[in-house]
Symmetry: C5
Subunit: 344 residues, 5 copies
């Protein structure tokens, strides 16, 4: 389910900040907590060995090793890799979001141009809408784990009522090779319905038929775009290199951040609180970088199962209910027309 | 209310700069003042304890601690996080702004194509416009706190004259499940009005009907986009991680910026003015970073209640007044046509 | 007036570079000269006091203070703030530029579809064009200081011939509340002219009427976009924080860049040329950063009065002259049609 | 073949990370492995000479040389060059991807508007589709090495059935100069088929003919865009400078990263593990930077032969099969229309 | 001439890298060679004076001066200025490239909708195409030095056959003021041809006339966009400040990079190879930064005369030849229609 927090940021203030941080679902805390704990555990274990179980000589060796690592840590260009990568991912996420497919314009235009209250007209309108939703289901099954789980087979779609048994048979009869998707078929059916409605005079003009077809093609185009994004993701090398950089940075930080030196010398007199400083700062750094990386990870597959991924199943139900309501229940409904309150 | 300052930046000069800085509404000063004061207070309190109430030994300890923190402060990647984040937020803000919904094209086309000066034609035009504004009100109620406060219920909309009692009943009668919004209904009504006007010959051609419908669908699409942006915000993790980074940076700065060392040693002879230097610089840094963050905070929900958020209520009133003026008051108005001043 | 320099950059070479630097109008030199001089003056004054009028002890104090400031100067994140801010401003400037309004497509389509060489047809075409230019004038008056100065009142527009006295009266008679702009009115008039021309058979088909109306709506949309950009600028906080950061950086540089230390010690033997080094470098830095900032300042209001702002008045005159020439002078002009030189 | 990994990133977690890293095809490991090995080999060879075969004096010389190089390594601005360059390349790659050419909309519209089940109608529809695929083949032959290898000559296209012998002769008869591509010819043929179908009444209205032509022009436009991208690549200087910077950086790193100094002095006592630290860090740096560069290299020619380049041959086959299935096999297919499961 | 290198980057590998670097036309080597040599010469001259002709005392002075300059070099923010600037320039270059004007869609639509094989129809089609190319020539003459050189006057256009003598006279007779361009005139002529063809029944429907006009307007829009880009370039300050920053950086580097100090002291014992290190690194830095700057310089005026600028003259010839071939030579050509190889 998407995580909405607009209400929390209605006013920009310190309260806003606190409210924002206190959320759990889809939050940074939920996504990094486990890894932060693991990191702390590993850091402490090493720290205890280092501080309590090493002879002074070995300690000197580890101090030097740690300092050496620390001085080379900035070879790994975390910040910019993450910054540029997240920007690219966000752009792609935006495009996916814009193509996710809303039935409303199709339904509104169909309701206006495909006329008639008899059963045949109603069936035409309802089935056209249903076929569009069916296309969406078929596409989403292939790209969204949520929908795949809900509709593991064509039979389950039939069971849900989005497809009839006859349609399933037609669909499977189409002899196109397995590797090519048959998503076009329900769109084809919609067009056949529309063409028949035009022939039968239910649609009054070629222009009107054409307008409905354009809306349907727009709907189809969005879904096709989703398939394409799924077919050609950001080249694998890019996320690999970015995520690997982040993780290996913090793996090395386990060693590199163990010793505390101020201008190359340990603080004098020493105090048990000093080793906490690099630890605290490294944990903060871990939270910020890994949190930032999580943004990229969760946006990379926005139709997945993270907390803030798109709710594909909700969208399908909404499109079906709303589409049917528009083309059938509220068809031709118009409240009594009268002069409005501002009439001179 | 939006804060316009174009006039102040008409010419690029030093005066421009000063004029720009002297504004209060929607300014950096207004937005960071409180937090700057809190930061100064905390900094000073710590500073007084540190400078006057510590023994030399404890002071040495704090000096070391402070220096240690200071040397690790750049683990927190403020600049880039803010830079990339603000860029993404600004893009989104731009898109929201472009979809906020202006009635003008709908009204102009309707006024040209839906002809007739009799009451029935006027009612048709006026109600079609009113229904569009009604859609805007219904949508804005859900995404803008300002509009929600003005129209807490459908009854208040009826009271304002944007909806009639009959329409409210129709609207509530629609049996669609609660979770699906019924924003489509007034659009449906508009289409019914238009279809009837075409049947009655008030609209002269299918092409003209289609053109009006396209304008209405464009208007609707903008509003739908606003709903979508509200439904799927930037993933929560991103603002959380950025805002947290900024705040924790300055929280740690309270400790890290207390001691003054030049190349690791205190300036000699010491002077009460020296501790002021890191303080001044840290306060400046606070103003710039927190100010930058405020840009992001205030842009994240541009329909909220900050000084420079969009004035949704103004937009609704404007759309209603202007729409009615275009389709009714100035319908068919044309000044006397004569040869212009440049006629050969 | 815009500053064109394409010819100077036709070939990429050292000459290109020098030609580019030698320009004055709209150049970096013109825009930063005054401020550079002020900065140098302030720097020198401080430098003289510092080098000649201070006792050794006070000097030591200032050296330390200066060094302390210098070591904290990078708290101010100039580079990225400017980089990201300028990118955002440039995007906005591009959009404004794309919406500035060119009459050509409207005039060409009108000239093709609104036929007739009699006075009435010519008046229709000429007035339709004139109304579009009038809309542009009315909009530009509110957003561009240049145009406001040229047309301080509706009377001055009438005097220029872009509006007739009758039209001015019609315009002012429209009873819409003061706060809502009446820019739509001349568009409404244009549509009325077009509708009458269609009724009178001067426009041959609904499709042709519709095509002209689309062009007019496109023209209107650009101008509306300009109004919107004026109504909702980039939130004030953003330019404030960026410009303040730049200026305060260089204000502090006056102190921070006074002393010269190599690895913490003054060069030995000292030489009067050494203090010049930080001075030269700081002045260069001043030129680059303030120059960069000037890019942002001058792009922020591209309809203002800077050297390279859009020439709104030129655009208005051009649109009027060119529009009239297209729809009237060269109406139906076609050179003698013959076989071309490449005819087999 | 494109490399799809969406399924691996369905949930953001540590497992996701590991799954992502364990892939081989199209992975960072495959693309940098060879070069990493070469780099290690070179580094070790130098290291062995340096540590075992040098006199102390020569060693001191190499230490100084190495340190001197190391201190200047940041003259080479790797991070930003790569970051900005990759962003630009990704944008271009996106545009190429969006224009790669899908037959579906053309086929669906043609199937709806070009009616008739007789042989002549079927031939018209099938050939129109075939000509579009033929255009795609002709264009891809010039810009994609994969397709060039599959179709080295027009004869091979004829052999595949996408072109008939008569068509090949027509194509070669066109007397246009060699340097201008004749891709337009099959489009021209398609338009002729459509025009004849309209004349023969198979297409019912001008509007319908026009709609099909628009779809075909859209398809053509995408392919033309691909040609343009091929004709005008990102200026050569940009990839040259970026790739050279990366390679020369690591070439110099072979020398610069040989000695280990902590604060300018070798760690005391020395230990054979110390020289490993800069080696490990440099190899990591090599993997990240060269991996990042590989992203750019593989995206620069997305129609090439890298693992994650677009599968042009698959696309051609898919378009042909799917196009024919839509316009012929499933023409006019519509399952039995009945009341749906949600009928009140 | 554009420089194509797609074939070299078909596969991402080390060979790719070497092939890419070995090119000369349009390469980094060609564009920076001269300046690198000048830089080396200046550096060496200074180096010789410094190393051989200075007393030890003067040398100490120069060492200090050089070190002082070196420590301040990072005041000049090269990397980000270049990165952000190049990104902006690349976006603009892309837009220019997208608007450069291809005749194909106009010609294809014209060939389909403007029917007839008699001389009069052929003249109509051929002249319409010729007028579009003429518009392109007229526009390009003003914005591209290449085309200006080829067509220094209207007479040379007449001589080339793109314009007839009668058309030139018509063009010059148009009494529009000199400062307004008359590019619209050939478009106007095209529209007149089309209107007459519609009146004469050569174009079968209003919709078809309208479709051709839309294509022509699109072609015109691209060219108008080019004029606008020429009229309003990126504000002069921006390239000035960026290019000046790069050049002054390397001018100062001549001094700043003369001395070699490791941790503030010269290496001991000295060796003639040491001074080469900063020299090599500075030359590399010069190549990368100046090369990057060259990207910006050559993209800033893509219609100029650099190696990789668009070939405007080629485009004009191609448009003319291809346009005429489409509307005349291959008009109505359609190979014998038969069943295809995949017919069931």
């Amino acid at each position: 389910m998407t995580v909405s927090y607009s209400i929390d940021v209605s006013k920009s203030s310190l309260i806003t900040f606190i409210n924002l941080q206190l959320r759990w679902r889809g939050s940074i805390w939920k996504s990094v907590l486990l890894e932060v704990l693991m990191f702390c555990l590993a850091f402490f274990s090493l720290s205890i060995v280092y501080n309590h179980h090493l002879s002074d000589e070995t300690k000197k060796f580890w101090d030097d090793l740690s300092a050496l690592f620390d001085s080379k840590m900035d070879y790994i260009p975390l910040t910019f890799m993450l910054g540029f990568f997240v920007t690219i991912i966000v752009n792609r996420w935006n495009e996916i979001f814009n193509n996710v497919g809303w039935i409303d314009p199709c339904a509104l235009v169909m309701s206006s141009y495909l006329r008639g209250s008899d059963d045949k007209s109603r069936i035409a309108r309802r089935n056209a809408i249903r076929y569009l939703v069916l296309t969406q289901v078929l596409v989403f099954r292939n790209i969204s784990m949520q929908v795949r789980k809900r509709f593991p087979s064509l039979e389950t779609i039939v069971a849900s009522g989005i497809m009839t048994e006859e349609e399933r048979i037609s669909y499977e009869e189409c002899s196109l090779k397995q590797i090519y998707p048959k998503y076009f078929l329900p769109i084809q059916w919609t067009f056949s319905i529309l063409y028949e409605a035009r022939s039968g005079g239910k649609i009054g003009a070629d222009l009107q038929l054409n307008e409905i077809m354009k809306c349907v093609l727009d709907f189809r185009k969005g879904l096709a775009q989703l398939c394409n994004f799924d077919w050609v993701p950001i080249p694998l090398v890019y996320p690999q290199v970015v995520f690997l950089a982040v993780r290996s940075y913090f793996f090395l930080a386990l060693i590199a951040r163990q010793s505390i030196l101020i201008d190359g010398a340990p603080p004098n007199p020493n105090h048990p609180i000093f080793p906490l400083v690099p630890f605290i700062m490294t944990v903060l750094q871990f939270i910020f970088y890994v949190g930032w990386m999580k943004v990229a990870e969760s946006l990379m597959n926005p139709l997945g199962e993270d907390d803030d991924d798109f709710e594909c199943n909700f969208l399908i139900d909404r499109n079906l209910q709303l589409g049917l309501a528009i083309v059938d229940e509220t068809y031709n409904a118009l409240p009594y027309q009268q002069k409005d309150a501002f009439w001179d």
